[in-house]
């Protein structure tokens, strides 16, 4: 078994309104920042042990499918890196 950290990033699908991001953008603009757009995302870092990278990726993907993301409104991506156990 190898120790991995799977990073699951969950973001709203393109075209789904994100009022919190819009509010954050407006607040930055009020602070005087110049910006074109702002998108927010949730990032989950999952430490796990797995046979190989593919197995770690599969398990983290299933976590996203079953809980971390809501497929109706979210897309997600998984990145896996070895971790010092």
């Amino acid at each position: 078994m190898t120790a991995y950290t799977a990073t699951v990033t969950v973001r709203l699908k393109h075209g789904v309104l994100d009022p919190e991001a819009e509010t954050t953008q407006r607040a930055l603009e009020r602070l005087g920042f110049d910006l074109e757009d702002l998108r927010a995302a949730d990032r989950f870092e999952v430490d796990l042990d797995a046979e190989d990278e593919a197995a770690a990726r599969d398990r983290a993907g299933e976590m996203a499918e079953r809980l971390l993301a809501n497929p109706t409104i979210h897309d997600y991506e998984v990145a896996v890196a070895e971790r010092d156990a």
Binding site: V16, L17, D18, P19, E20, E22, T23, R66, L67, L68, N70, T72, I73
Partner: protein, 230 residues
Amino acid sequence: MTVAIVRFGGSNCDRDALRALESVGVDAEIVWHEDGLPEDVTGVMLPGGFSYGDYLRAGAMAARSPIMNDVRDAAADGVPVLGVCNGAQVGCESGLTDGAFTTNESARFQCEHVHLRVENADTPWTAGYEPGDVISLPIAHGEGRYEIDDDRLTQLETNDRVLFRYCDEDGDPSVDANPNGSKHNVAGVLGERDTTAVLMPHPERAALADVGGTDGRPLLEGFVRAVDAE
């Protein structure tokens, strides 16, 4: 008959629901989610509140608690299941109904009275209204914006799964009458069976004449109609 009102940690409309259901002659009891559904349950109400503190997404945690397996089985058997507010979020998160309820367009918690148009009066929940009736119910939510992709929304509309739409007092589902940015002003939808329904507005807060009006009573009486229809 006994309707189980499922209490999760953070539910806060469970006692209101109990009182409202009793006031329309529906025998109900509050059931702690860890205890599972009683054997002889004749209905399930998922009440409002902030189950699990809305962690991750409103309803996400409660939707994955073991009792929801029982609730899905019951719904598939035709046992009436009604989700209100947080219960509606739990219903969508658990797959009882299609779509998702997410952050209001305003990004604010909104607590106000809204008008709703009855879109489908041919269900146990709405048989006490006429199609096109305009009723008034309170809302109290921060994550009530109904989201779903366009194809699935068309499917819901084609199959008469939309129960209520936000509208003005004349019944026009206008942009201005949409309190939270819900797609096509959708306020409540049916599940696969007509006996499963979720909505963000609170019928249990409009069940007593002295408190909030009585427009919600016919909806709650749906528990009686759904059982009679079986």
